[in-house]
Symmetry: C2
Subunit: 245 residues, 2 copies
Amino acid sequence: MITSIQNKFVKEWKKLHKKKYRQESGTFLIEGEHMIEEAYETDQLITTLIVQEGKEVPAWMDEEYVYIVTENVFKEISQTEAPQGIAAIVNMGSMKQEHNNYVLLIDAVQDPGNLGTIIRTADAAGFSKVVLGEGTVDLYNDKVVRATQGSIFHLAIEQRDLNEAITNLQTDGFSVWATTLRRAKNYAEIEPTNKTAIILGNEGRGVQQKWLDMADELVKIPMYGKAESLNVGIAAGILMYHIRK
Amino acid sequence: MITSIQNKFVKEWKKLHKKKYRQESGTFLIEGEHMIEEAYETDQLITTLIVQEGKEVPAWMDEEYVYIVTENVFKEISQTEAPQGIAAIVNMGSMKQEHNNYVLLIDAVQDPGNLGTIIRTADAAGFSKVVLGEGTVDLYNDKVVRATQGSIFHLAIEQRDLNEAITNLQTDGFSVWATTLRRAKNYAEIEPTNKTAIILGNEGRGVQQKWLDMADELVKIPMYGKAESLNVGIAAGILMYHIRK
């Protein structure tokens, strides 16, 4: 059992709170029973399981990879306000790759909760791929991971240049929609084709002009009341379910 | 200028961080230029304006109601991480009352961010009334108010028994939809009538059985992928825009 926060493993694990070390190691931290079950059930490579003393170790986990730690040590590793006493280190490399006819492109969404919720909603709507363009919050940020509620393991998610992604999708027969308020059609008046991708923009400035210029359709969600805009996650949900309906 | 956090006004204003004192005084705190403009533009009664020294006082505000405070005092009053240096005390009593044919009923949504976003989305979708049933987070909680982005001033919002609200709406010719996963129809297959109300449930347990029993339609949003559920705000957005389309 690890009892000291000075332990070398504890120090290594804590490094994963930072993007730089996640990228260097190709691993990230997840917390809580639900997330760990999701990782296991989707054949995600769990390299280390960290369990607080007194908490149950899942039966399927090879003992070799399990570390038991004190409550104090667990708190040091945890990034949640109410730690559940179980965390895991997961390999990024084993994420899903294949995709279907519904793709989401993210242009610099910066709030971790928004990105996580968008990924969860994309999963619910049967989208199978999400491309994270430059300036988007790190996918492996603990708040993003938590807000996906496990959907991070269900989809193919790439960090990639949007120029290339849009071009490839169009070559592949996709109609690419971009959300914007100016010169855009009401989304409800556009009949989705059977291969559709949606570009969602940053919370403040929306989708950049260069991606609007490349899009096949400019779409907007009408404001019927006095609100000036929708939250980007809500907009994503409305558009994705319109396309799948 | 108020320079001390021990000042009696500062102590009074800080009390509004607590629900009990908001209810007793019938007032609540708002922060930031955008929120204050929204309150002003919608004829909301602003009883006090609190401005940090060096920040601009809006030209429309009667000087009699303006208090200038030091940065230190403003931080004491503020509930945001990055205070904008302007706050106001607003009268609850002057909220909008009239409503149209689209009503949202909330059964114990507990996350302030969710409730605020739902109110903002209801405004965008042209819903004009939101009824907050028992167990719902306090409307005047600072995080709720902030997440509405001003829509708190655009809608009629009541804290009220849902039994009475549902009965009155049905008497008034409304079709009342309740969201649930069991024995429910796909929302997309139901043609909305011209007077529709939607009941949204608590994040964990959903809509209570007693309200499901009263509803005219049980509706669900299908899960096309592997996600187990949608965030309640996202579900609200999809359903309200379906009804308005």
